[in-house]
Amino acid sequence: MAQDTGSMRTPTARVRHLGSARSGTHHAWMMRVTSLALIPLTIAFVWIVLSLVGKDYGAVRAMLGRPLPAILMLLFVPTGVYHMMLGMRTIIEDYVHAEHVKSWSLQANTFFCAAVGLACVYAILRLSFV
């Protein structure tokens, strides 16, 4: 049978035209991107929280509703949540091997991160606009 002996792909893979989806490095790359962004954002977050220590309710609301803290929090939360979703995904893939448990754990991870992230974003927007 005439075959391309230089290729390591199986004949089935060749006929299906299913090559690399070019997404293999996406996880690792997004981990780096979010990590880099989170360095200044974490410092900003700690700064914001420290400036609120001991303040009363009105002062906290006013501070979190100001544009700069609100924007920094709106950058920090989704970046952090996306980062932790990727991280937990790796941990699940490393330690959970039973196929259905792994699958449900990965879904739960996505849902948890989406819920926590959106709840925080909603609260920050509400503090700014309501």
Binding site: V46, L50, Y57, M73, I91, A119, Y122
Partner: protein
């Protein structure tokens, strides 16, 4: 060589096994790798506290007072202290990974210094933040 196991497969026919945790000598870099994961999981759980605090602030004064009461309690402060430390330790661990990504710090003395630096840096930054927090309170 004394035969110390009960495998029915002749020694020379066995597949090679990759070494696992229990056969390695303890190394600081190894502990730091595990700590990076554990602090990551801690921060993951800690986002619930952040969400609670933000939602309470967005709801009303009594919800905020409840959240504040918990975070000001002994248990709450312990959790927040742990969260602060996990945050800085994990962040510095990330910086260490960036240094490795750029191709530096993987050889023997450097990687030990980086591990020690992460440990000390995380502790110092945590202490600093809490000193500031208590002095502005």
């Amino acid at each position: 060589m004394a035969k110390t196991d009960s495998s029915p497969i002749a020694h020379e026919q066995r597949r090679p096994l990759s070494p696992h945790l229990q056969v390695y000598r303890f190394a600081l870099t190894m502990a730091m790798s595990i700590m990076h994961r554990i602090t990551g999981v801690g921060l993951y759980a800690g986002t619930l506290l952040l969400a609670w605090w933000l939602i309470a602030a967005a709801t009303d004064a009594s919800s905020f007072a409840t959240a504040n009461w918990f975070m000001g309690s002994i248990l709450g402060r312990l959790i927040l202290f742990g969260f602060t430390w996990a945050l800085f330790h994990h962040m510095l661990g990330g910086v260490r990974h960036f240094i490795w990504d750029m191709g530096y710090g993987m050889e023997h003395p450097e990687r030990e210094y980086l591990a020690q630096g992460t440990l000390i840096g995380g502790a110092v930054l945590t202490a600093l933040v809490w000193i500031v927090a208590y002095s502005v309170r």
